[in-house]
Symmetry: C2
Subunit: 146 residues, 2 copies
């Protein structure tokens, strides 16, 4: 498993909503076209972000808007919203070591020491980057393209 491409789709959507959410109705169909991802997948992602208080979706008529300042939206938060236990899925351990072997018996506990460190580091790393940073990268690149 990897940090699901759902995460990059979510970021894509959030940039889109940030840029266009005020001026036009950003629907799952529109986001689906922009990201190249199925509308249902988009709706699931949007739904998770909504539950997390990052965006709001107009009832009935549709359209998403940001309701949280971009500097409070970290990549960690996005991943967590979409897939609550992404971090434990990210670094997996073989499931069936032999209970008859002293190493097999203990390998899970042994690896937990190190893997927990790695997971913590990674969380820190993901918390260090916000949507604000990414939007600013986007504007920078857009500028350069002109």
């Amino acid at each position: 498993m990897h940090i699901s491409t759902k995460c990059s789709v979510a970021i894509h959507c959030l940039i889109f909503i940030y840029e266009y959410g005020e001026s036009q109705k950003v629907t799952s169909k529109l986001l689906s076209l922009s990201t190249g991802t199925n509308p249902v997948t988009i709706r699931n992602i949007i739904s998770s972000l909504k539950k997390d208080g990052v965006i709001s979706v107009k009832f009935g008529t549709g359209g998403a808007t940001l309701i949280c300042p971009p500097n409070e939206i970290t990549i960690y938060r996005i991943c967590k919203a979409i897939e609550p236990d992404f971090i434990s899925k990210l670094i997996g351990v073989h499931p069936l070591p032999s209970p008859l072997c002293p190493i097999g018996t203990n390998i899970h506990n042994v690896l937990d020491f190190s893997y927990q460190k790695i997971r913590n580091d990674l969380c820190g790393s993901l918390k260090n980057i916000t949507l604000e940073d990414i939007i600013s990268d986007y504007h920078y690149i857009q500028q350069k393209m002109k």
Copy 2:
């Protein structure tokens, strides 16, 4: 994708080889039983570690031994040996954003800024932990179990 369970299998094997490689013939069958993983998968992992100079396997008759000090074997090195581009696979981006949308056009470049940071952090984190650390965790746990 995630950090493959192959990595944890590899660590398991290396601990096993460290502990028993001198006193008995550690074959892929034995490792297969201890890890609960198919012998061919084990042989592939062992083969990668061999190419990386971490272990050596007796020709014809079989049996693996460590040929590298455990403090020089980082988790990063193990992952890299087993799957050379694991790091780029770990954090993926949706493959087909629309080229007709300014965000779709640039999303890959935009995310590269942030994702590269995350990848570098993760590599650092994985380089910080060596087989020596893990073996010492193993001995610690083994002691406690008595």
